[in-house]
Symmetry: C2
Subunit: 326 residues, 2 copies
DNA sequence: TTGTAAGCGTTATCAA
DNA sequence: TTGATAACGCTTACAA
């Protein structure tokens, strides 16, 4: 392995001069610098990151704790976060370990900051971390967190459909007993209904009992067979929305001619479904950007106090909704 | 940051003693060792990898290049590999970047070795790496690789069903034009049929046109409605097998009473399906262990030459198959 | 059994 | 403008 000392020996200078030259310091004479650079090149010098890390105590690395590896939206967000991190001249390390052990590993690697996907189970974990951490997905008192405003998203979806003339709506989503994330969606939908003067009825809420395609498919089939025939539905997740589309298609109906659909999870993939689906929710790009910005800001200013950063939902209009007259 | 010096101060010993204790050296008194370990624990000590790497020129870290594909088996393997890596006293870094950029990142991190999930697209990439790499999933000439023997797995599945008396079989799997991995499954199934004197018929092969639940579900529904009624089917992936089960259930049939099912992808999750499913394939534990063993062996002996390491498929009998008499 | 001290490759602070 | 030198956190002879 070629070190700066080898270069120094060949160049006939001290190795501290070599270090400065290699870091393009203005403190070395241009001529010396060029000579050193040339020798470094010839010798095939590669800096030793471990040593750099040791002395600077910065790794320019961000760790991401990502336990739920099998959801499209989450992988999309991870991918975007990766891009944002690289844009900011950092590197990303992923860990699929549980929160605490992932954080330990990241400490060993001396990451400069950590992003945690805030799953339900994680929130309760005791976490002792003297390192900047951002929780992504909900609100969290102890650490800075990114709130994706699920409630507002569903509120907006209903409002949008209402503005298109729809009065018979349905919520097709997961309604577990103890899950604030999902509950927020339900509340947002209900709240909008009330504000718009639509009386919430039980048949408007179809519990998919899961977040995946099959759940959405089954729930939608059930809905289409029921007495209540909405003119528009809102899907509770990307996968659920996929299932809704299949079910509608199988029933021989057309989107948006026979029924309008809005999907939650504002990811680009909504464009590529059989029908490009109008989506609502905080756009993944913004979620990723906010997350990384907040984290880096906390890295640079460790005393910054924890708060909740909201990413506002937006509606991306595509081809799955149409106006309707009563 | 907590260092061995902090521990030394608290324990009232020198930091070299701490180092030895932490590395479980026989040169420290058991009592001292325990005391030091306890303090390290209390202080939340995490070793600094950069420093370790500097002095030992080893980072004790393995990088894994992982395609962000939402398949249970892949996440399971990654999880198992993570465990194996930790068992071997290494740490795992995941990267979801494309092969080359992931490898570059891993080099900067000075990992000791790299595991690559061998997707179709990756195989063609030009890769210049002077670092041990293992390709996982197929066969690869230039690098050591782990072959999960898909062909043998399907061969064995057919043989097993045949031994139970089944003569009317069906393959429910993904048959894309250009994918050796999937094609191997098809070949194994066919080969066994021929060897056992069963004449392969087109209706025995149901192309799911995808590897996910919905694909299996749809394909199985189609099969159940067709003229050909097999007494046993083999599912081409875990998710496909899930879909098969749904379809069978919806048709009002019982597994294994009315139809036997074997699933490919030998993962523990097969146990937790509605019917615990008899699975075939290289067990994920062994895949993970072999992968990590091979990589570490190449790390310790860099001149070892690249070869293909096979992980033999096994059948895990559960409750989804029953004997049948002609 | 424990401690001392050198050194891994680098950056950064002074002094020359 | 350059060069000594002291860290950074750790392992490992070797000395005590």
């Amino acid at each position: 392995m070629v070190t700066i000392k080898d270069i120094a020996r060949v160049a006939g200078v001290s190795y501290s001069t070599v270090s400065k030259a290699l870091n393009n310091s203005p403190l070395v004479q241009e001529k010396t610098k060029q000579k050193i650079l040339k020798i470094a090149e010839e010798l095939g010098y590669q800096p030793n990151i471990a040593a750099k890390k040791l002395v600077s105590n910065k790794s320019k690395t961000i760790g991401v704790v990502w336990p739920t590896v099998n959801r499209v939206t989450l992988s999309t967000i991870v991918t975007k976060i990766n891009e944002e991190i690289e844009n900011a001249s950092y590197s990303m390390i992923l860990s699929i370990n549980p929160l605490n052990s992932a954080v330990n590993m990241f400490k060993r690697f001396q990451v400069d900051g950590i992003v945690v996907f805030d799953d339900q189970e994680l929130s309760d974990q005791h976490l002792e971390a003297n390192i900047p951490i951002v929780f992504l997905g909900g609100t969290n008192g102890r650490f800075p967190s990114i709130d994706v405003c699920r409630r507002d998203a569903f509120y907006n979806a209903v409002q949008y459909l209402h503005s298109l003339g729809h009065r018979h709506l349905a919520f097709v989503g997961h309604l577990p007993h103890r899950n604030n994330r999902q509950f927020e969606k339900y509340i947002g939908f209900t709240e909008a209904l009330i504000h718009l003067g639509i009386n919430p009825q039980p048949e408007m809420f179809i519990n998919t009992e899961g977040l995946y395609l099959y759940h959405g498919y089954e729930a939608m089939k059930k809905l289409l067979k029921s007495d209540y025939q909405p003119t528009a539905v809102v899907g509770g997740s990307y996968e659920i929305t996929e299932g809704i589309i299949r079910a509608v298609k199988e029933a021989g109906l057309k989107i948006p001619d026979d029924i309008s659909v809005i999907g939650y999870d504002n990811i680009p993939q909504m464009e590529n479904l059989e029908v490009p689906v109008t989506a609502v929710g905080a756009p993944v790009d913004k979620i990723a950007k906010t997350t990384v910005d907040v984290l880096i800001s906390h890295i640079n200013n460790p005393s910054e106090k924890a708060k909740v950063y909201k990413v506002e939902p937006e509606i991306f209009e595509r081809k799955s909704c149409r106006p309707i007259s009563e």
